[in-house]
Amino acid sequence: MSRMIAPASAKVSHSRHLTILMLLGILIIVMFIVSMNTGLMRLTPLEVVHTLLGDGTRQQKLILFDFRLPRIVISMLVGAGFAVSGCILQSLSRNALAEPSTLGINAGAGFAVIIFISFVPATAAGHIFVLPLMALIGAMLTAALIYFLSYRREDGLSPTRMILIGIAVGAGIYAIQMILTLRLDPQNFQFVSIWLAGKIWGGDWRFVLALLPWIAVILPFALYKSRVLNLLNLGDQTSAGLGMPVEKERLVLLAAAVALSGACISVSGGIGFVGLIAPHLARRLVGPKHQVLLPACALIGSLLLITADTIARWILQPAEIPTGIVVALIGAPYFLYLLAKSKA
């Protein structure tokens, strides 16, 4: 059907899309290099190259390989993860406002972390690995709760209901979270509040290793499911009419999106907005087809977060602001712009 209408234009847009993806890739590489040169310690680009080639001083190696690079890599992975997760959720719910944080998944993860910290002091050994696990479990449980509440035997999962229930559950969790937060001692309170604002930790290759499997499995999986996502975007009845097991596919994809965002939250805390903006931007650039939309999302998410993290490290030197706040600072004006534009 669609083939009959536009064989020629498909080819044109095809190469245009490739160009856009390549361009995003180049921008990421540029930002990567800028980010490597940004920080409290002045490293000239030449010194960076020297250090990369293996003859920097011990200090320079430490800063580059142990502090800056893991952090850059984590922001790229987290950005891609949130963006793709947001994209899947938006397509599943056919609602442009869906993303991990609006669905209450961030809140659930944060809640699990706070409960954990309330009982186990933040200084206990092994914290660094248990905390991400708790966040992941929290995200999963919240998603399960939302799914359970919005599922009706007669008409399955209504996307709109899912969003509304997600918002409600999220608000409820935030309220309890606030109460629990107030009972923490100052040390833990500071830790939690920074965590909730979304801060990419000083960076550690172990976090990269913890996050990589999730990204490496779920991103290709989502891409593999592109066609399903395209169909779901058309509406349940159309998809069902085309012979797709709507409910089953939706459940699988929902689980994938939640696992992805949960894994990202566990490393970076709740960085909102990326999952919201990246799919929007990607759709404007390459259109709604998931085969190219998802990669574009991942690249835009990476670019966004690597930029935000660079700004976060640079703007208030020597202090750092949480990356999530920078994303929100960039995100809010963009959204207002979108709103103003759509009205006109």
Partner: protein, 342 residues
């Protein structure tokens, strides 16, 4: 319809996959370098700046590298003769031991421990949260961290890559004598620490004698006024430990009224409650120099008996009264003696 669509989308999907793989593999490559450099010798660049900051060590005995266990159970290898020591918020101890740290604790907008401004005059500041790159830039060769809480979530491992890092721990930090002896032991300066403590006890005993003779064993209150809120100190820390513990003055009614188990080092106290204060003398640490005048001129404050009687000593925020340590406590004693001994 579906078949041809599939072919096309496969191609696109493949392109997308390729882009993602490129992205991911670009990230994975830099993994190898970090194991090697963590144990290497201090950088050559650091040495140029090194000599000026560290006072020459008096211990002539050839010290050897030693391995100790810190409060969190880390095995820490302390260099034989640390030259560039960093101990954020532990400056009092370092100064007491005659060690000039490479950087001093600070908070945003230039907040430092003002009472140490003399001995730390030329020492650059480092943010309290120990940003990794800032720590690296000072090239410490030994790092002491005060609290477990400040190195959580993997920060310890990162700091330990920069320099051997010893966590003193909150438990030891509570007691400045223990903290001083522990740090002295790490830095091979135990004789200095013992002397500092003996000197201090002597000074406290002398002060106690003078104050008892002139003022008696009456009660005093130590209030801290910050952002229009009052806090009252108990006998466990800082100037409270000095006045109540070492000099033997009595706690005021407002502190003893608080059940022991719910007492904090600094207890918040409302202005209304302050009206019931019956201390014979008040020490007021005023961190609100300008905007607190309406409180201090107000009827409630002016109605407190010891305020009416003019028995108030105001101390500025740059005084040592909020801090613990041999250096801080010595200054606190001087202030107390000059206020109470007539």
């Amino acid at each position: 319809m579906f078949l041809s669509e599939t072919k096309k989308s496969m191609k696109l999907a493949l392109a997308g996959l390729l882009a993602m793989t490129m992205l991911l593999s670009a990230c994975g490559n830099n993994n190898g370098g970090n194991a090697a450099n963590s144990s290497a010798a201090p950088a050559a660049t650091a040495e140029g700046a090194a000599e000026a900051t560290t006072a020459p060590s008096e211990t002539a005995a050839p010290a050897a590298e030693k391995t100790v266990k810190d409060a969190m159970g880390h095995e820490v290898t302390v260099p034989a003769n640390p030259q560039r020591v960093l101990g954020s918020y532990l400056e009092d101890y370092l100064v007491t031991l005659g060690v000039t740290p490479v950087a001093q604790w600070s908070i945003a907008n230039g907040g430092v421990q003002d009472y140490l401004s003399d001995p730390l005059k030329d020492v650059p500041e480092i943010s309290f949260d120990l940003p990794l790159e800032a720590v690296t830039s000072f090239a410490p060769d030994f790092h002491i961290v005060q609290s477990e809480g400040s190195v959580q979530n993997g920060l310890y491992d990162q700091l330990n890559k920069i320099a051997p890092t010893y966590v003193l721990g909150d438990e030891i930090s509570k007691d400045w004598r223990k903290a001083l002896l522990t740090i002295a032991d790490l830095l091979n300066k135990t004789p200095e620490a013992e002397k500092a403590i003996a000197d201090y006890e002597q000074k406290a005993a002398d002060a106690k004698e003078k104050i008892t003779a002139s003022f008696g064993e009456k009660s005093v209150a130590i209030l801290w006024l910050v952002q229009k809120n009052f806090f009252i100190v108990d006998e466990t820390r800082a100037s409270g430990a000095v006045l109540y513990g070492d000099i033997g003055l009595q706690l005021p009614n407002l502190v003893t009224d608080i059940p022991a188990e719910s007492r904090a080092t600094w207890n918040p106290i409302t202005l209304e409650k302050l009206a019931e204060l019956t201390a014979d003398h008040i020490f007021l640490v005023n961190s609100d120099q300008t905007d607190a005048s309406d409180i201090l001129n107000g009827p409630i404050w002016q109605g407190i008996p010891s305020v009416k009687a003019g028995k108030v000593t105001e101390l500025s925020a740059t005084s040592s009264w909020l801090y613990s340590g041999a250096y801080a406590n010595t200054k606190t004693i001087d202030d107390a003696v000059s206020a109470l001994v007539k």
